[in-house]
Amino acid sequence: RKNRKKGRKHHNTEAESNLCRRTDFYVDFDDLNWQDWIMAPKGYDAYQCQGSCPNPMPAQLNATNHAIIQSLLHSLRPDEVPPPCCVPTETSPLSILYMDVDKVIVIREYADMRVESCGCR
């Protein structure tokens, strides 16, 4: 007889799964028609920040003091004050090998290309 699987898988509520977090976002240079210029890489995992910053904000959303106050202001005057935004809080660079307009092959490091972490700001 087949043994039943131990423990029940933790099921996130819908609200929890929509909180501010880092999600997948792959940049394919072919889709941008940049493959003629960029020799390497073909694409890369850039990631993106997605989700809401509700009031009150859970501690895991890494909110600043300012974001907490803005969240309060938004809850009382939604038309005037926007809610805090889910944005990158840490990024990392990416090196790209490409051919420039003079047909010279160049390696260059670009800042803020990949998201490392997200937070409410």
Partner: protein
């Protein structure tokens, strides 16, 4: 922009850790010159460095005279500390008059001890950590390390820290006279993870509104309109990088934008000129763009308006601002967006956000409900500029 008056007031009260909504200081007394000077220097240091290694909370406490076992003692009120506070350092300050050849000898003769008024603690002789002339004041000062005594008082949940100051080979003058002439005070440096208690603030705000409605004062203005101006700032500082190379070449490269070298025939200056020319052809579009694009907006709040100027020495005003506006999709100019934001605007379904790019601390210098002089530092509280991230 309008902001809710009651919400701002309750936010300030929570930031200052006042328990009552409308506190009354029954006896207002001016702090000694030496204590004020010390805290003023500390406050300026907090402003300059945007934080402090010794913690984000400093209290300077003046003593009262008490008696213990028939002898006079100095009593400092240490009640009402935060439950999650870490005592980093405590100093007992003492000033000697007349900076002359005898000051050094007198400073050597002076002694300080913590007095044990709780059955679990032990009396301790304090160690001098500084003896000498104060550069700002023409006075000789003695500072003792009171960290362990204050630490013990805090963890034993004592309401008072008690000290006795004596002089070797001589009788100390009456303590009331000592307080007047030598202006002793206790400085406590703490680290506390204090953020706004939003639940409490909202509850108090709604309670205040209900009270006003019950009194029939609905016509009173509930929104603060003072100096409401767009605070757009084009300056942009990069968000924190991880694993970036640290050399001059890398720094030079990192200032480039993602378009550079990606096959674009036109230079950045040319693209910006074309974009500006197109916008200039339509005045309505220009106005709409300026209002709707990512920018900083806010209100300058005067603490005097709420009556907090009775307690708060600095600052006089607080900027309540936020980032507002849209980020173009795709972004036409790269001046105010990161490389990632530009790629996301081109390719991803998720829109790019208008958010703060640099945040500054807010530092309060004020007198608390117990008359102690306090400096509190709240990190990442004020917006420097806005950008598409």
């Amino acid at each position: 922009a309008k902001v809710d008056v009651d919400l701002i007031n309750e936010t300030i009260r929570d930031l200052l850790h006042f328990k009552s909504s409308d506190p009354n200081v029954t006896s207002f007394h001016r702090s000694s010159h030496t204590l004020t000077e010390h805290m003023k220097n500390l406050y300026e240091n907090f402003i300059d460095e945007d934080s402090n290694e010794d913690g984000n909370l400093v209290r300077a406490i003046e003593p009262a005279v008490g008696k213990f076992e028939g002898q006079e003692v100095l009593v400092f009120d240490v009640e009402g500390f935060d439950s999650h506070e870490s005592i980093m350092r405590a100093e007992l300050h003492f000033y000697l008059r007349r900076r002359d050849s005898f000051a050094r000898r007198r400073s050597r003769q002076i002694r300080a001890k913590s007095v044990c008024v709780n059955e679990y603690c032990r009396q301790q002789t304090l160690k001098k950590i500084r003896v000498g002339g104060d550069e700002n004041l023409e006075e000789y000062k003695v500072i003792w390390d009171a960290t362990k005594s204050v630490f013990d008082s805090y963890h034993l949940d004592a309401k008072q820290a008690v000290f006795r100051i004596t002089r070797e080979h001589s009788k100390m003058r009456p303590y009331a006279e000592m307080i007047r002439k030598s202006t002793p005070f206790l400085v406590i440096y703490s680290k506390v993870n204090h953020t706004l208690d939003t639940v409490s603030v909202m509850k108090q705000t709604e309670q205040t509104k209900r009270k006003r409605r019950d009194l029939g004062n609905e016509e009173l203005r509930e929104y603060y309109n003072y100096n409401s101006i767009p605070l757009d700032n084009d300056d942009r500082e990069p968000i924190k990088r991880k694993n970036g190379k640290k050399n001059s070449l890398s720094e030079e490269i990192s200032s480039e934008d993602v378009w550079q070298g990606f096959g674009e025939e036109t230079s950045r200056e040319e693209r910006e000129r074309i974009a500006n020319e197109e916008l200039a052809n339509d005045v309505r579009v220009v106005l709409l763009q300026n209002k709707n694009r990512c920018h900083k907006e806010g209100v300058l709040v005067s603490l005097k308006h709420f009556g907090w100027d009775r307690y708060v020495i600095e600052p006089k005003t607080i900027e309540t601002s936020f980032c507002k506006g849209k980020c173009a999709k795709p972004m036409l100019t790269s001046g105010k967006a990161s490389n990632h934001a530009m790629l996301q605007s081109l390719f991803a379904a998720e829109p790019v956000c208008c958010a703060p790019t640099n945040l500054k601390s807010l530092n309060f210098w004020y007198r608390d409900e117990k008359g102690r002089t306090v400096i509190r530092n709240y990190s990442k509280m004020l917006i420097g500029s806005c950008s598409c991230l």
